[in-house]
């Protein structure tokens, strides 16, 4: 299958065994000749770090080579404090977590970091991120690598979530859209099995697509009627305040819905319809087989997703919805750290990174 000579394969298997990456698991069934052997990856031979940064939180995980999280830690931070303070905290949390496992930097294959803004794919630098003052053009990979010398991969947080959700729940699905509905609204798109970044790293940025019901609502981006200005957590909270409810944030809305507040339930369902309006268009353009709804507002239960389904199944072409599944995220708050870990693992195992790291070890 590889096109490599038998002797080459044997030499490489020996090298991987010597480094502890793989070990024999059993004698396989022989079809004649020398009995073949089966080898499996040793999951914790090396580790990766997965980081999910939001406007006000950092979530850091150490994962093994299968992407399983071994240990994780979540802190409050202010992304607006700037890259050096925030990334400094990421580095110290990483070191502390490694210490609890009795492991060191040399056991790491890489670090994946999800940021809440657009990221230039080739360089890992944030590009005019609206909620991240001080981060524009900051060389995140270089800064982190000066402290922990392993490959550092940076991507948009929702892209990471799409990767994480797919690897955990939909490993055989090649066309998937992950939609995060929280303070903002964004999506990560996997098409033909590949994460799509677009020309400027902002593919999937659906929060500022105008929707019909938003004509009079001003968005913080300066336009009228953006999806995010109508259907995000804060937008729903604002509407509920107009009906005299105590709702300052998306989390308050989720609480009201869980408490059975009818106005809150109706508002969340309508937000689902608004999101569905944009997703119906995404379905025509991308033709996914799975849409996953995640982020804080998805925790309001089935109301949000019921609104999404109502509109998508009404408005999209029959052929596009015949086998389309629309579901709630199953990885909850961990999608981001899992995806960031997976991105690191894929990079390390496919780009000769192993050779480079091992040659220094």
């Amino acid at each position: 299958m590889t096109g490599l000579a038998r002797s080459t394969v044997a030499a490489r298997v020996d090298a991987l065994m010597a480094k502890g990456f793989i070990s024999p698991v059993s004698e396989a069934q022989s079809t004649g000749g020398r009995p073949p052997s089966l080898f499996a990856l040793t999951p914790d031979a090396r580790l990766v770090v997965g980081v999910d940064l939001g406007a006000s939180h950092v979530n850091v995980a150490i994962a093994d080579l299968t992407g399983a999280v071994i240990v994780k830690e979540r802190h409050q931070i202010a992304i607006a404090a700037g890259p050096e303070e925030v990334l400094g905290s990421v580095v110290s949390v990483t070191s502390a977590l490694l210490a609890t496992l009795g492991r060191a930097n040399r056991d790491l294959l890489g670090i994946g970091i999800g940021l809440p803004g657009p990221v230039e794919h080739a360089t890992g630098k944030p590009v005019t991120p609206p909620i991240m003052p001080g981060w524009d053009g900051f060389d995140v990979p270089a800064w982190v690598r000066q402290r922990i010398d392993v490959p550092v991969l940076v991507d948009n947080d929702v892209n990471m979530m799409a990767l994480g959700e797919r690897s955990m729940r939909w490993p055989s699905v090649d066309d998937l859209i992950f939609v995060k509905v929280a303070t903002g609204i964004g999506s990560g798109i996997i098409s033909g099995g590949e994460l799509q970044r677009g020309a400027n790293g902002i593919a999937g940025d659906i929060g500022h697509i105008p929707i019909a019901r938003g004509a009079d609502i001003l968005c913080h981006c300066g336009n009228l009627g953006c999806l995010e200005a109508v259907a995000s957590g804060p937008a729903i909270a604002r509407r509920l305040r107009d009906s005299s409810r105590q709702a300052d944030t998306g989390a308050d809305v989720v609480q009201l819905v869980r408490g059975g507040d009818i106005d809150a339930i109706q508002a969340v369902r309508q937000a689902g319809r608004d999101i569905g309006e944009v997703l119906a268009t995404c379905v025509s353009i991308i033709n996914p087989s799975v849409i996953v709804i995640g982020g804080l507002m998805a925790q309001a239960g089935e109301h949000l997703i019921a609104g999404v389904r109502e509109v998508v199944y009404t408005r999209s072409m029959p052929l596009a919805t015949e086998h389309l599944t629309i579901v709630q995220s199953q990885t909850a708050a961990d999608a981001g750290i899992i995806g960031a870990s997976i991105l690191s693992i894929d990079h390390a195992l496919s780009n000769g990174v192993l050779d480079e790291l091992e040659s220094r070890a």
Copy 2:
């Protein structure tokens, strides 16, 4: 770079030379040791066939291994006559063109066929194509291969056009949308350098996305307000008939525009704005760096594209439009046959097809 041993490379280069695929072009600059040699592909060592089928035409080309069209022929057909009659015509035109070149089936590496409907990527079978009665599920590759025994690749016509336009005009662009505006409206999407088909082979099917101005207009698909029902060639012609113009088809509209008819110019410009409304959303979702407008209606000159630009640059996010180019197709009616040829060449040169074909020769 390949990871292959020097002796393996030498053996393969010798084999390719023996078959006439490559020939030495010059002695390269030596960096010490045995002088290296430069080889180049011999463009017409083998040929491919590129076929573009529309509702009422078939365009067949024979191209060389660089995708350059050597000879081509265009006929009127009725796609509704069914697959056997239409594909029979494709086969006989192909044989006739090969004969004029003094070449035979054994010189072919493959045939690419673009169809005006959804195609299941894995099998090359049309899937419930609306304007192709009798074609649903028909095994196009098998039928053609029984007559000309080479790999047959089938895809949607607009996907082929996207490939053709990219290879001829934008070879270094990885994120491009090709929009065909004719009797219908559709698009082919190249993201991250790869043609995107989606889960059911209908990615890019933008003709049935509802637009604001279409609320009262019934589409042949059964929904209200689809882009295609408002902005396609026949839709514009219908509007002009209401103003007492002689316009039965999109071609009539193009004629009126070329003749300076103000109502026709305004109607085409407005259709451009309608298409722009949908493309502004595509820009947020896909984040392309190039949008190409092709198809018959693009031949109405700058009026259509001016309308598209007007809306896309107004409505899309600044970061997404900063480096976005929106242009008219440069390959005119040949985009489809060029793309179909390119698809065949890429398949043949990357999938061991050469070995298979040569072992039978």
